[in-house]
């Protein structure tokens, strides 16, 4: 548990380790939620940031460098170039393309 001191203007300073842990940046929102146990400070989108942190920390330093390079390259692309990446391998729906479809007719599929 962290203890924060409220200053004369009602402001508190969040410790750097918490800022780092939750990936907080200037402008990010934090909610104050009144609960039966007291005031809860909730970082908006905390689950997304925690996922990002877990992912990033799972990478070696070398992998992080590679990931940064990929990020630089991707961010430098135009919208059209990015769209083209995500439109690769379009699925043909023509009848003559049906040869690669997998037939599970011999297997009873489990209920969904």
């Amino acid at each position: 548990m962290e203890r924060l001191i409220v200053d004369a203007e009602g402001k508190v300073t969040i410790p750097p380790e918490i800022i780092h842990k939750y990936g907080l940046r200037p402008g990010d929102e934090i909610s104050l939620v009144e609960t039966a146990d007291g005031l809860l400070v909730r970082v908006e989108d905390a689950e997304a940031w925690a996922w990002a942190q877990t992912w990033w920390n799972s990478l070696t330093e070398e992998e992080q460098q590679e990931a940064r390079k990929e990020a630089e390259a991707y961010e430098a692309l135009s919208t059209e170039e990015r769209d083209a990446i995500w439109e690769e391998e379009p699925v043909s729906i023509e009848e003559d393309a049906e040869g690669d479809e997998i037939d599970l007719s011999a297997i009873q599929h489990p209920p969904r």
């Binding site: 689950e47 699925v91 049906e98 479809e101 007719s105």
Partner: protein, 176 residues
């Protein structure tokens, strides 16, 4: 909707936003609200122990990017392959004003094959495309009738398949 289905397909738009979230984080930039939303959907559905799927096309696109990005998504999802009758159903769906790409993702929802689980189709498709959801819901009665007509004449297990629900990622976060 109050209860969650167990088998869910995340469409390519959702996967793209998750990847672009990672890119922004790696570059030290703030992700956009829609990218954050996509990651929250992934996290929530994983925590709720749903079987998460992506299409083989999405998996292939991710695998062509740096593996550091792909593994975070691929490790928690399974790729659906094109099952028998998928294209036939996609062609039928085109008659209901769905784009070719939308028809394909909807057809994956009914005829996509999870080879590991030996199952066909999913309960829900989660998409970032509100237009797809709107069109699907508006024409659901006609589409269901056509689907039932088609599957009635198919062999087991295809004749017992059903249409998935189609929801936006925002719906997952607000209504589930």
């Amino acid at each position: 909707m109050t209860s969650q289905p167990s088998s869910i397909l995340l469409d390519k738009g959702v996967i793209r936003r998750i990847y672009e979230f990672q890119v922004r984080v790696a570059k030290g930039l703030s992700p956009t609200p829609s990218q954050i939303e996509a990651v929250k959907v992934l996290v929530r559905l994983q925590h709720a122990r749903n079987q998460l799927h992506i299409t083989q096309q999405s998996a292939n696109i991710l695998q062509r990017r740096q593996p550091q990005y792909a593994k975070a998504i691929l490790s928690g999802t399974g790729a659906l392959q094109k099952g028998r009758y998928l294209r036939r159903w996609a062609r039928r769906l085109r008659e209901y004003a769905f784009s070719r790409e939308d028809a394909v993702i909807l057809a994956y929802g009914s005829f996509g094959v999870d080879l590991k689980a030996q199952s066909i189709g999913v309960g829900v498709i989660v998409t970032a495309d509100l237009k797809l959801v709107t069109n699907f819901n508006a024409r659901s009665a006609e589409v269901k009738e056509r689907f039932d007509q088609m599957t009635l004449n198919l062999p087991t297990p295809y004749r017992s398949l059903s249409l998935p629900e189609v929801v936006t990622s925002a719906t997952v976060l607000t209504d589930w």
